[in-house]
């Protein structure tokens, strides 16, 4: 399985002003993360706020420049985002209420990428795009303005806009978290169809591990800017290896749980990323922390086929 889009040891530091204007400090948002997106698969990046999952997605979309590491498209390093890159890698944002321009019609939103990238931007092409995201009949939507559509329909338009240039990779940053519960599944199923029928490589960024289990083939768990576990979705959710993944799963709402959750191993909050903990960033909260965890960052260690955990417990 070769990756269409690959992140190799991506690191991102953001400079910030300290308490006194002269002192500069750095937010270590993403540290040394490597993932690969293969055609026809969904990779989910799961993490809490501040875990670096959106920063990783934005680096892969080349919206921000990595501090270190490489982004490879079909094996070739990408140094900057040009039009050719945009044609292959498209981004869908979280909030369909602000990612569409309120003064333009749906036709305008979809015609623009088609025109810019040299595709015919006629009604037939736009209708086809709307059909692909199940906004049919297309003529009912094509001349509407964003405010005339519901949240779910708007997110479908945003996805159609991303599909206009026929990309190979779709990066979806929390695409359903702003939507009503009852319509989220429709968008997730649409992403699954795009994977299955069009062979898109999809990066699904989410804080909801249950939806990652539903949609993704591979789950990557991030904590405080580090990749802590990755593997096939059923394995990661059914037998999590890293103590942080275990904590996340135990904390997630689960109607089938019969015993109430009283004790959480590793409770607490993520650390400051200005001065992150040394070694494994989870060690101050980890119930099984050892001496080595405080000093040395663990490499991804194999659990079984394709399932790895960056945790010294598995050395």
């Amino acid at each position: 399985m070769t990756a269409v889009l690959e992140a190799q040891n991506l690191t991102k530091n953001f400079p910030v002003r300290g308490r006194f204007a002269l002192r500069r400090s750095t937010v270590h948002a993403v540290q040394d993360v490597s993932i690969g997106l293969a055609a026809g698969t969904v990779t989910a990046v799961v993490g809490e706020s501040g875990s670096g999952k959106s920063t990783l997605a934005r680096m892969l979309a080349q919206l921000i420049r990595p501090t270190g590491g490489d982004v490879l498209l079909n094996g070739n390093p990408v140094s900057r985002a040009n039009r050719a890159y945009r044609r292959e890698v498209q981004l869908v944002l979280q909030d369909p209420f602000s990612s569409l321009n309120p003064v333009h019609t749906i036709r305008y939103h979809l015609a623009r990428p088609l025109r810019i990238h040299g595709f015919p931007a006629d009604t037939a092409a736009i209708s086809e795009l709307l059909d692909r995201v199940a906004l049919s009949p297309a003529e009912r939507f094509i001349d509407k303005y964003p405010h005339e559509l519901s949240g779910g329909q708007r997110q479908r338009v945003a996805i159609a806009r991303a599909l206009a240039v026929r990309p190979e990779v779709l990066i979806a940053d929390e695409p359903v978290s702003m939507l009503d519960v009852s319509i989220r599944l429709g968008i997730l199923n649409l992403l699954a169809d795009l994977r299955d029928n069009d062979g898109l490589a999809i990066l699904y960024v989410t804080h909801d591990i249950a939806s990652a289990r539903y949609l993704a083939d591979t789950i990557v768990v991030m904590y405080a800017g580090q990749l802590v576990e990755s593997g096939p979705a059923p394995q990661v959710t059914d037998s999590p290896a890293h103590p942080y993944t275990q904590l996340l799963l135990r904390a997630a709402p689960d109607p089938e749980r019969t015993e109430p959750v009283t004790e959480l191993a590793g409770r607490g909050a993520p650390p400051s990323l200005i001065r992150p903990p040394s070694g494994c960033r989870f060690h101050p909260r980890c119930p099984s922390a050892m001496d080595i965890c405080r000093t040395t960052t663990p490499e991804p260690l194999p659990i079984d086929d394709a399932h790895t955990a960056s945790c010294w417990l598995y050395q």
């Binding site: 809490e48 706020s49 519901s150 949240g151 779910g152 329909q153 009503d180 519960v181 009852s182 319509i183 989220r184 599944l185 429709g186 199923n189 804080h207 591990i209 249950a210 939806s211 289990r213 539903y214 059923p234 959710t237 059914d238 904590l247 996340l248 799963l249 135990r250 904390a251 997630a252 709402p253 689960d254 109607p255 089938e256 749980r257 109430p260 959750v261 009283t262 959480l264 409770r267 607490g268 909050a269």
Partner: protein, 326 residues
């Protein structure tokens, strides 16, 4: 079943007047007993928050209560909440009914320390306590929600989102209310923090015995947390049942659809469909049962006639599938 605490009958709330009025809550009956955790589930626009604002009389213009009654059984006898004057409400609020809002970030005053905000509440409602006792009480409240008392001097911006929400819960419990209304208290929080706060809440409820009206769109959380659950759709109560029964044997097609919108954490992968369509625009509500345009089981009476809430033992459903209705 323990004693009745809150009894809402036929509540109707409109936004605006006359022809253009939007019926945000229509004919809702709701009862809450002492020490019970009642979950109120629904999507945005279902009227769940409006209901809470109406019951606490915090509804702002253009919101108007157009019908129904709400009786709160306080220690001093039943009080008609909709007839209560400002003085009665002032006695009732916070000491008997407390509210925790969604965004603790905005509910706390950024220019006062949290100690000051906690003692303010106590000073306003318990004027006979001296300064030292107030301070002790504030420290005790913080301790109760798991925050060290050294934090009394901290300002809201110095606390994390989870800690701010804990402070809000501590403040709500300051006067030992018998009913705490929580409007999406954990929605803005990360899942680990949410779990900690929910566990804390249940521990406090077991100790102090207050009742909770927990409003959220997250039905999967409610099933774990609540004793019973009421589901709202387009301003109406569509189903009410004990939490376990609702999960294992939902009766209303909307509840079924909502439960099918949460991917499970265990078991074989199966395709879920959610609910087709989108929640209705309340300015132009559908005729008959407001869920019928999205309902997979809609039949003859649904588009024209409105079902009424039918109570069978400890459950209530508002659906024509439940047979002929009286």
């Amino acid at each position: 079943m323990s004693d009745l605490l809150l009894d809402v009958r036929g509540l109707c709330v409109d936004y605006g007047y006359g022809e253009d009025a939007v019926h945000a809550v229509t004919d809702v009956d709701l009862t809450l007993h002492e020490g019970e955790v009642l979950g109120l589930a629904g999507e945005s626009g279902s009227g769940k928050s409006t209901l809470a604002y109406a019951v606490t009389r915090l509804l702002r213009s253009p919101g108007v209560i157009t019908g129904g009654s709400a009786t709160f059984h306080s220690a001093g006898g039943p009080i008609d909440l909709f007839a209560a004057d400002a003085k009665q409400l002032r006695v009732l609020r916070w000491s008997e009914i407390a509210v925790v809002f969604q965004s603790a970030m905005h509910a706390l005053n950024p220019v006062y320390s949290i100690g000051r905000q906690l003692t303010d509440v106590i000073a306003a409602h318990r004027p006979n306590l001296d300064r030292k006792t107030r301070r002790e009480r504030a420290a005790h409240l913080l301790h109760m929600v798991g925050i060290p008392e050294e934090r009394l001097g901290s300002y809201p911006h110095e606390l994390s989102g989870g800690m701010r929400q804990r402070v809000m819960i501590g403040m709500a419990l300051a006067l030992e209310p018998r009913l705490v209304i929580m409007d999406e208290p954990t929605t803005a929080l990360d899942v680990v923090t949410q779990r900690e706060i929910v566990a804390e809440l249940i521990r406090l409820r077991d100790r102090l015995g207050f009742a909770v009206l927990f409003i959220t769109h997250d039905l999967s959380l409610l099933i774990e947390l609540a004793d019973s659950i009421a589901v709202m759709y387009a301003g109406r109560l569509v189903e009410r049942a004990p939490a376990n029964d609702l999960f294992h044997a939902p009766r209303h097609p909307y509840t079924v659809g909502l439960l099918n919108s949460f991917p499970p954490m265990h078991g074989e992968w199966r395709k879920l469909t959610g609910i087709p369509g989108s929640p209705p625009d309340l300015r132009q509500p559908p005729s008959g049962c407001s869920f019928h345009p999205r309902c997979p089981q809609a039949f003859a009476p649904c588009p024209t006639d409105e079902p009424t809430l039918r109570t069978i033992e400890d459950r209530a459903v508002s659906c024509w599938l439940e047979g002929a209705q009286t």
